[in-house]
Amino acid sequence: MTLKTWIKTITLYDLLVGMKTTMSHMLHYKPITLQYPHEKRTLPDNYRGMLALLRYEDGTEKCVGCDLCEAACPSRVIRVVSAEVPGEPTKRYSKEYYMDMTRCLFCGLCVDACPVDALGMTREFEWSVYDKRQLHLNKEQLLAIGDRSFPVREKQLELQHPNVAFFNVAFKHLPQKPG
């Protein structure tokens, strides 16, 4: 053992090297913990938060009840009951729409699957509840989330392309489906 190593050993030099970062923080104090309810982090742009159902500019629901989100969902969060819109023959919509958010992985596959961009991922994440049944959301709740998270709504694509005018529209001269 040389003198050099002997000095290093008795002065606990290796320990000091290891603690260098810690020590430096002791000197230059700058806290990185956020005081959560009072301070909030800036979320990344593509943050995937609470799901929501969206509306068009005129307030009509975008959802056509195609059930593709239900099919795409890996954890069976979504349940759609589709039907003909009352009073608008041959137009399809989701009569009921449920999301069991306790199971949601926030993978966003439903949003990708949606052919009419009716689903959106908001930046809401504060959804802790005392009763987990409150996380079983229905269509009205999901639409309400959409309303508050996406104040700027998309315009309906009417007449932009000739076929859009024929996509899921009501034909008033037809009778309603037999009940």
Binding site: P115, V116, L157, Q160, H161, N163, V164, F167
Partner: protein
């Protein structure tokens, strides 16, 4: 060859793209609609041709036209499909510059260029 109507004599200086469109309109009107390539193809061809003649064409259209014609040819029930693509095939072969001129005019006029991805829902 200019289709199934035998020999067609045209004046020197006839707009051959226009002539091809005229012939195509005829075939489009006459297609019976039984088999898919002729039924859908003739309407597709005639719409593209109308666009080119109306100076709203684009360079990719020429390639599409050739492809469509080849896809109709030999795949229909009767010989009508084979005949119906002849005007475009032959005019494209012999008078391609006229097509190009029309499309260049369109591009020069900077008219609205249709988006290639058509069906957007």
């Amino acid at each position: 060859m200019l289709g199934s109507g035998g020999v067609t004599v045209m004046e020197e200086g006839t707009d051959m793209v226009w002539a091809a469109l005229r012939l195509m309109e005829f075939f489009y009107h006459e297609s019976c609609g039984k088999c898919s390539p002729c039924r859908e193809g003739s309407s597709w061809l005639v719409q593209t041709m109308r666009r080119i003649v109306a100076k709203r064409g684009q360079m990719e259209d020429l390639e599409t036209l050739v492809h469509l014609c080849k896809n109709i040819e030999g795949r229909t029930v009767c010989a009508f499909g084979d005949a119906s693509v002849a005007p475009i095939m032959s005019t494209l072969k012999h008078w391609r510059p006229e097509y190009v001129a029309l499309i260049q005019a369109a591009e020069a006029a900077n008219l609205i260029k249709l988006e290639p991805a058509a069906a957007r829902h």
